[in-house]
């Protein structure tokens, strides 16, 4: 446990050298450090060093009431905050057996899917920036901005949304919002082919991403890879389908999967997922009923003693909140099983033997959010 602060990479005298990537580096998308043992341009071993953004979220949650902890949960993954707050409120609702009104279910799904598209758009722009293409970033941000405006309209915040409450929502949505969502879906569906025109068929992009960083199916299970990274390797595992929560079983959508397991496959999965999210949003807007937006729940949340595991498909993969209640107003144990943590743990394996430039392409294709890894 208290091992000396030396790295497992032995120093060598045959021309190999250590390269320190990060903790501040554009390619790591956050405060991540990777110690690389290099042989020229090739990586012999990679050792990710975590914890620069560690805030002890689990201890914080265990020392607060269920409602007080809610805004903290939304600050773990700042690009997929909706899914995180959904997991927290659903975990408590499951423990307490609260019912959620239909209208709230529809708005929750709509908000989470808009958030997923925004997250994938940012990934798309930033990933291509990693690979040296500058224009896509601006293109993606123009569309992402529209989603942020939409979500700001209902939640008041642009990234770390804290909009869901136990039993429903903090506030209702109005018809203006629903019309604007419809307009966005129509407009974005027309603009999506331009994304493909600009990048998907590009030969330089293919050279950088095809057959690079292949995650083999049996390795995925060993590391617990989930989300688009897993679906790029042939498994159509999506919590929204396998363990439907928050009414996802009422909407029709496909789970895109690719077989190759390389960076290009993960790219294609995310691109196809955005279309599916549009389909879900469209159905949610079309079928949203009138009625209450929040159920009557007790002011003080005191769940019965017990344990619950609430799994949610965030833009990055499977989030599980494991919560143990002892019947008091504070959770007695909270574990956040975050997708980026498991997805990043396979990086050392993928980077071995690769060119440094390819390792950055792999790191970007995993789409991790470091504050979520560090918690």
């Amino acid at each position: 446990m208290s091992a000396p602060p030396t790295y497992s990479l032995e120093s060598t005298d045959n021309g190999n050298f250590l390269l320190n990537l990060g903790p501040q580096h554009p390619g790591t998308h956050g405060v991540l450090r990777v110690v690389l043992q290099m042989d020229g341009e090739y990586i012999l071993a990679a050792d990710p060093v975590l914890g620069y953004g560690h805030r002890m979220q689990e201890k914080i949650a265990e020392n607060m009431t269920y409602l007080q902890a809610l805004p903290y949960v939304c600050r773990m993954d700042y690009l997929g905050a909706m899914s995180y707050s959904l997991a927290w409120v659903c975990a408590v609702e499951k423990l307490c057996s609260f019912e959620v009104p239909e209208r709230a279910v529809h708005v929750r799904v709509m908000a989470c899917e808009l958030n997923r598209i925004a997250s994938h758009l940012l990934w798309w722009g930033a990933y291509l920036l990693d690979l040296g293409a500058f224009t896509p970033f601006l293109q993606a941000f123009a569309d992402r901005e529209q989603i942020l405006d939409l979500l700001e309209y209902i939640t008041g915040s642009r990234l770390t949304y804290c909009y869901f409450r136990f039993g429903g929502l903090a506030a209702d949505v109005d018809d203006v919002f629903l019309r604007r969502v419809e307009d966005f879906v129509t407009g974005f569906r027309q603009r999506l082919p331009r994304y493909h025109d600009l990048v998907t068929g590009n030969v330089i992009f293919h050279h950088r991403s095809k057959d690079v960083g292949v995650i083999l199916p049996f390795e995925a299970a060993g590391y617990g890879v989930t989300g688009p990274c897993l679906r790029g390797s042939g498994f159509a595992y999506d919590v929204r389908k396998c363990e439907p929560y928050s009414g996802y079983d009422r909407f029709e959508f496909a789970v895109p999967a690719e077989q190759e397991g390389d960076c290009l496959a993960r790219y294609n999965v995310r691109m196809a997922e955005m279309e599916q999210s549009l389909a879900i949003i469209e159905q949610a807007v079309a079928t949203i009923p009138d009625g209450p937006y929040r159920a009557r729940v007790p002011r003080v949340i005191r769940p019965p003693a017990g344990e619950v595991a609430m799994a949610v498909e965030t833009p990055r993969g499977e989030l599980v909140i494991f919560m143990v209640s002892d019947g008091s107003t504070r959770p007695c144990r909270v574990k956040f099983r975050v997708p980026s943590f498991a997805n990043l743990s396979i990086f050392a394996r993928l980077a071995r033997g690769q060119l440094l430039a390819d390792a950055l392409a792999i790191l970007g294709s995993l789409d991790m959010v470091i504050p979520e890894v560090d918690r």
Binding site: M1, S2, A3, P4, P5, S8, L50, G51, H54, M56, E58, K59, K94, L95, E219, A220, A221, G222, Y223, G224, V225, T226, L230, F235, Y237, K241, C242, E243, G306, E307, V308, A309, M310, A311, E318, V320, F322, V324, C332, R333, K335, R337, F341, A342, S345, I346, R349, D374, R375
Partner: protein, 144 residues
């Protein structure tokens, strides 16, 4: 019921009993530390993936539980495994050579709870500073 979960448990002589109500956990087990490796091997053979390794500290019962979550890519087969260890000298066998992804989870659990994972390929701190010897997720931890 011929699910991969039932098959994996049957191979090491554990009866599959689904949990009712499920609350996200299809099945929960309480096993001995020496069983965890054979269980992990059996689950890996059936294609299960590792979700997490963590622990729960219960000082009023003078008890600490190692907690494992496994699931299957075919979906909805989440298995919760609890392994009780002593609070004063907590030890668990590492499953890091069966599920390579478990190494990071074990490193985190080791630093947060002070549990030693025997045979873990890497025993450095993961999220805490390299030299930290305190265990923040123990209930009696009040700060440094």
């Amino acid at each position: 019921m011929n699910s991969p979960l039932a098959t994996a448990l049957a191979r090491i002589g554990i009866d599959y009993r689904p949990r009712v109500p499920a609350v996200g956990l299809r099945c929960s087990l309480h096993i001995l530390p020496e069983q965890i490796r054979s269980l992990a091997r059996s689950l890996a053979g059936e294609g299960f993936f590792i979700e997490t390794v963590t622990a729960e500290d219960m000082p009023e019962q003078n008890r600490m539980d190692g907690i494992y979550l496994f699931n299957h890519y075919e979906g909805d087969m989440r298995l919760l495994v609890r392994v009780t260890v002593s609070r004063s000298r907590p030890h668990l066998p590492s499953i890091g050579r069966i599920f390579p992804g478990a190494v990071w989870h074990e490193r985190e659990t080791a630093e947060m709870f002070g549990i030693t994972f025997d045979g873990c390929p890497d025993s450095r701190n993961l999220l805490l500073p390299e030299e930290a010897t305190f265990h923040p997720l123990r209930k009696d931890f009040t700060g440094v």
